[in-house]
Symmetry: C2
Subunit: 403 residues, 2 copies
């Protein structure tokens, strides 16, 4: 029998009425004669309430206990959902990670699933049961609950799909799918029907909230088709899949933009081998993520300017680290915390020349100044002033005929 994994996020099970609705969605799949595996998040609000409680107990709350605390949220949602399915006359039960077991490695609050025991669940599926599995968590080799970090239930669903060789994994969420760009920034944004893993990875890394990059990566590695759908309205969602399944003339699939980026320029850095490494080492040690980097050509062979972007939250710390860095000398630091990175993403650009030119030309026509550029095989990013973000998105959406 073909197996389908369904994942429901916190807003999808955010109230008793929502849980009743989700039970109906599950049964609509069950009635198609498939084996159904469900992974559920905690009811939205519950996790935040538990986090608030933890903060009142300690400003340095033990991480193992934190995971044990948070894991109650999914257990609660799964028991309610399974009981609802039983109320409707179906065989269903909650499965916690220690019962299956779902094994993890890595640190508390940020583990990864390493293995899923299949025996008990296969037996249960064969008996026609619908297992409702606590997402976001597993047990580690010390038999303690360890959670998977943000977006952890996506990871649970993808790994369940992998271990049970599911034909598809449907991520039910509060949006209708993946959009060409953020609809809040551009009202004509279109829902994407199909998107490649790599494109989705870039979208996710760039801040699209639909899925966490690690889960997309896991799906790609295991060649699992993901459907992103709304649990609120019954509409076709977005299929995330491999390149073979997509036939399209679309060159650019999505446009993403960031906010809360800051640009730092270090002026008059002594130009010697290893200077960039000397600058970035302390930032890396302090877990500050450096994104776009441009090193100007040294005009006099002695000094150069170095520009890079970071999250604005890290700006204060970064400036301090650079000023206190005894391994480098420079004349001045300037910064701009009013910048945005706008990126176009599409595997089509690999086979289509001139995309970079078209992007720059389109922005130039609208008098949008480009500060920094960075490119990868399937992505071109430009740093522009925050005030131009919306205009840039609209311009590029039109330029690459994404409407």
């Amino acid at each position: 029998m073909k197996t389908v994994v369904l994942k429901f996020g916190g807003t999808s099970v955010g109230s008793i009425d929502r849980i009743k609705k989700v039970a109906k969605i599950i049964l609509s799949h069950k009635k198609k004669g498939k084996s159904i595996i469900v992974a559920s998040s905690a009811m939205s609000g519950i996790t935040n309430d538990l986090i608030s409680k933890s903060k009142l107990i300690s400003d340095n709350f033990d991480k193992a206990e934190y995971d044990t605390l948070l894991a109650t949220g999914e257990q609660m949602a799964c028991a309610l959902l399974a009981a609802r399915l039983r109320h409707l006359g179906y065989l269903s039960r909650s499965w916690m990670s220690w019962q299956i077991p779902i094994l993890t490695d890595g640190h508390y609050t940020n583990s990864r699933i390493s293995k899923i025991g299949k025996g008990k669940l296969i037996k249960y599926l064969k008996s026609g049961g619908i297992p409702i599995i606590t997402g976001f968590q597993g047990i580690n080799n010390r038999e303690r609950i360890s959670t998977l970090g943000r977006g952890g239930t996506d990871a649970s669903a993808i790994m369940l799909a992998k271990f049970f060789k599911a034909e598809e994994c449907i991520i039910y969420t509060d949006v209708e799918g993946v959009y060409t760009t953020d609809p809040r920034l551009f009202s004509k944004a279109k829902k994407i029907k199909k998107i490649y893993y790599d494109e989705m990875l870039e979208m996710a890394s760039l801040g699209s909230k639909v899925m966490q990059p690690t889960s997309v990566q896991d799906a790609k590695l295991n060649n699992i088709d993901i459907k992103v759908k709304s649990s609120f309205v019954n509409k076709k969602g977005t299929l995330i899949t491999n390149q073979k399944k997509i036939f399209s003339n679309q060159i650019i699939t999505g446009i993403s933009s960031t906010k809360n980026d800051s640009k730092i320029t270090i002026i008059g850095v002594k130009d010697k081998p290893g200077v960039a490494a000397s600058i970035f080492r302390p930032l890396s040690q302090n877990l500050i993520n450096v994104d776009m980097v441009v090193q100007n050509i040294s005009l006099n062979g002695k000094e150069t300017d170095l520009t890079f972007t970071i999250k604005s939250d890290d700006l204060k710390k970064t400036k301090k680290l650079i000023k206190n860095n005894k391994d480098i000398s420079f004349r001045k630091i300037s910064y701009d915390n009013d910048v945005s990175k706008v990126s176009i993403i599409g595997v089509g650009m690999i086979t289509t020349p001139g995309i970079t030119y078209r992007m720059f030309q389109a922005l130039a026509k609208k008098k949008i100044n480009i500060m920094v550029i960075s490119t990868s095989e399937i992505k071109i990013s430009v740093l522009i002033s925050n005030k131009h973000t919306k205009k840039a998105i609209a311009t590029l959406h039109k330029e690459f005929k994404m409407g």
Copy 2:
């Protein structure tokens, strides 16, 4: 090293501030150089919230899922409490029943602990750790969570004390101990310093809310000393122990009273062998608990009257069952749902003659009419009108010098 089991009820861990206070209580014991095992209930309010949610999901909520749902409450409280102890610099962690394991048998929502795995906890105790164990629950032979019913964390604590041969088990609660009678009904009620298991069993069976009878019975069977204390004020509580440890001239230890009892009299029952069984069989089959029973002497050898008491909640159902009972014939049923059973309890009455007389005499002097009497070795109960309950308690308290 000597081991002490500490149990904290829902109101004792009912808020973050309460959990912080409980952490201090635990450390006050730890600092005496003892091995400490803690069993905690869910924060008060949490369990009720979960029950409300379950009712909205189904009026016939699956019992296994119900147990899984409710069990999150203790997990949450234990994680918070363990994290607080770690915050204060002590080695502590939460232990869930599947981690230990605590094994149960019996039905969901009403299981009993059959076995507790000792290996892991002994190792942990030897390392100096303070285990915070989820009360009220265990796992059954299907590896599913099963809860212990009302007062379940008491049962957890007593069984932990049994398996780890604890020198004492302290039940921290929101009252200061066991009282001679309900202080809400008689303001001069006194806290009892020491009480025998059997007396406590009678008190508990008769509605004293301090402990569930099954837990007292388990403590008696395993000869475990129980201290009942308040977690709100630091005062000496009540010791529940075996007879050898108590030296007292007190004849009567406690007075209890019930409300919501009903008295039923079946008048003109045909007096033949087995008639009482014929009357009570359908009641028993419908889980209606018959308490005091009096069968009048048959005057004419043909007919008799039968009087018994039940919970008022069962009155309607009981009347219907008797009327529909084809195995008996009678003239009339009368009932009174305005009655109260007042009992005096004390092992002292075994060796002291005349207690029954003194009780009846004292009540008669106050013109309190006795409707039904029942006695056991250490208890005398009388059924009286509800309106006399307070007066009867005050009278008996004085008569037996319990002040």
